[in-house]
């Protein structure tokens, strides 16, 4: 790359434009003026790592003690309110700026009042570009498809071939009729579809519903089903459903009808997705969707959307892969801590396995857990997102200035491992946040005891803020490592580069 091009790149990076995220001055003055909230962007705590001095390797990428963002002032989360959410829509009901939506969710989650509606976009149940009218059609389609799927396995299960496989569990309501009517209001609301502002004649609606029903049956008939592995799944599901969130008001009480809804969703997923089936822990995830939506159909399809990209995390190899990624990440962001855990024989980080499987559901009180779930699911801050690229660009520019344009660099290479999802940074943040306690441990038992003791004691805002800082530091580090790739002799090339096969 020519020097001219690099200069142009630098100008681009430091351009003062209307975007507050690239305007350094604005950001710094803003930070001083407003009370401390998460800024998603600028973190002055970053310490330049001297790559040629190996002793620096013993410092974590983020410094824990001298971090100015961790002053006495409490860090708060800016929860997205009803008005902010409604302003995102145009007159036809399209969610116009998805990026802004995800950013707002990332800043502090969603208020309870609009959570139900917001999640439908957050998890992709509805495309942001859909109009309110299109969504009504989608809702009807989802309804019919789900019930057609459910009918198939229920019919199969009552056939002589399979009926002996599964005993009727005693947590179900006695009257099976009752189960199907838990959400009759859902169906009724679908019967009064409004088109163009005027309510359609019921006859026409009935026809539409009838057509959707047939379409749903055709759809369901095309799905592959595995009742044999399904029956094994059902036996485990029946163990787990009666012990899912039973202290939450939604599932309180004997023979709570919501339990059978949870069961149906899990079974429908398991029998029609034989490659994934049922994994313990799915119950905890579906129950979150069910509590938020209070709708069987929406909870099912949202779960489907949620699983679309991460279903492999629920099979054995995927679980191991995920925890391995956490090990790799921790080695990069806080190697001394990782080494210490290694000495304690907990280098497998198995205590964090549940955090990842359930997206920290048991590590925070229920409400905080929901917030963290939506913040992570916003995918606003991922290594593939614009924000990460911007952070890397800025770092490259700074680094370029630092070395005074010395050797020409390969700015296109990024040594960042894009498999490091934001939730892994949250795990790392928890460990770094509690590193003093963990460093006092001397064996796997004390590490487990310490980490389990954190349950429901951590401050969500602090953890997310920390995760963000670790994330941004990692971005800068990966940008720097690119320089290291071309600047340093092979022997001093840091771990990141070696590990990702760029040499």
């Amino acid at each position: 790359m020519h020097a001219v091009e690099i200069n142009a790149m630098l100008r681009n990076v430091f351009k003062v434009d209307d975007n507050p995220y690239t305007n350094l001055q604005m950001k710094q003055s803003k930070m001083a003026a407003v009370p401390l909230t998460r800024t998603c962007s600028w973190d002055s705590s970053f310490v330049q790592v001297d790559l040629e001095n190996p002793s620096e390797e013993d410092e974590p990428v983020t410094t824990c003690s001298e971090d100015p963002q961790f002053s006495d002032k409490p860090i708060t989360l800016e929860t997205m309110g009803k008005e902010t959410f409604q302003r995102l829509f145009d007159s036809d009901g399209r969610l116009v700026d998805e990026h802004l939506f995800r950013k707002t969710v990332f800043r502090g989650g969603i208020c309870e009042e609009v959570r139900k509606d917001a999640w439908k976009f957050l998890f992709g149940l509805y495309p942001c570009s859909s109009t309110a009218r299109e969504r009504e059609t989608l809702a009807l389609e989802n309804h019919c498809r789900y019930h057609a799927l459910k009918t198939i396995w229920k019919k199969n299960l009552s056939s002589p071939q399979y009926s002996y496989c599964v005993d009727k569990p005693d947590y179900l309501t006695d009257d099976s009729q009752e189960q199907d009517e838990v959400f009759t209001n859902e169906i009724e609301s679908l019967n009064s579809i409004t088109v163009g502002g005027t309510r359609k004649l019921s006859e026409e609606v009935k026809q539409q519903k009838c057509f959707a029903d047939i379409q749903g049956q055709v759809y369901a008939g095309r799905q592959s089903i595995d009742m044999n592995s399904g029956c094994c799944a059902i036996r485990i599901i029946d163990k787990d459903v009666p012990r899912t969130d039973r202290d939450h008001p939604y599932f309180l009480g004997d023979k709570n009808p919501h339990l059978s809804v949870l069961r149906d969703i899990l079974i429908t997923f398991a029998v029609f997705h034989p490659d994934v089936g049922y994994a313990q822990g799915m119950n905890d995830i579906v129950s979150r969707f069910l509590i938020v939506f209070n709708s069987e159909v929406d909870a099912y399809w949202c779960f489907i959307k949620y699983m679309e990209n991460i279903h492999t995390d629920f099979v054995e190899s995927g679980m191991l892969r995920k925890i391995k990624l956490l090990r790799q990440l921790l080695q990069e962001v806080d190697r001394p801590l990782y080494r210490h855990l290694n000495r304690c024989c907990t280098e497998d980080l198995m205590f964090a396995h549940r955090w990842l499987m359930l997206t920290f559901k048991r590590e925070f009180p229920f409400e905080d857990g929901l917030k963290l779930f939506e913040i992570i699911s916003s995918h606003y801050l991922e290594l593939t997102s614009v924000e990460a690229e911007r952070e890397r660009d800025m770092e490259r520019a700074r680094e370029f200035e630092r070395i005074e344009g010395g050797r020409i660099l390969e700015t296109e290479i990024s040594s960042a491992n894009n498999d490091f999802t934001f939730e892994l940074f949250v795990c790392a943040a928890i460990l770094i946040e509690e590193r003093k306690l963990i460093l006092k441990c001397d064996d796997s038992a004390s590490v487990f005891t310490t980490v389990n003791g954190l349950m429901c004691t951590m401050d969500l805002a602090t953890i997310i803020n920390r995760a963000e800082n670790v994330f941004l530091s990692y971005c800068r580090k990966s940008a720097q490592d690119c320089f290291a790739l071309v600047e340093l002799p092979q022997s001093t090339v840091p771990y990141v580069a070696q590990n990702h096969g760029y040499l």
Partner: protein, 212 residues
Amino acid sequence: MAKQYDIIIRLLMVGDSGVGKTCMLCRFADDDISSTHVSTIGIDFKIKTLTIDGKKIRIQIWDTAGQERYETITKQYYRRAQGIVLVYDMKNEESFKNIQKWMKYISDFAPEDVELILVANKSDAYNSERKVSKEHGEMFAKEHRIPFYETSAYMDMNINEAFIMLARIVMKRHKKEIDKQMEHIRLFCREDSDAHIIEKQGKDNNGCCVLM
């Protein structure tokens, strides 16, 4: 820092999903089962310190998820165990049949000198709900020469007895090392009675406390 115990022993809980492993453990370690009605994901851990025959014992108990797909994770913990609690649900015949499978894993992955007990949990069940008779359980245990208990985590029946029995037989198995260790503590370590667990290989001769 002086520790509050002389000896550490490490136990592991295995058995099918939903047989009550976690409930048993919580009853034993915290005397509380109310907060534990959730499925175990992967691996979990609890600790209990008690005195047996005048020795302060710290029992580390590793709890495992029962579902098959967590087995790769849980199997890694077998090799660290000195004692294993095999649990089935007397209301669930399948879980009793599967004890065979768990025994197989133990012989494949646990140390050779590991001690076992067999536990039939949920003895609070009505007679009509019982699917596995006491005789069946006893017979199986006798065949494999391991102690057998019928317990109820719910009613707190036989839970302490079962765990303490396992702790005792683990201690008996490692009596030599423990005696040596206690002697060491008596002679040298009054101030700082750290109990160390040292892996078997070749460390017996360096004068440290050994238990494994």
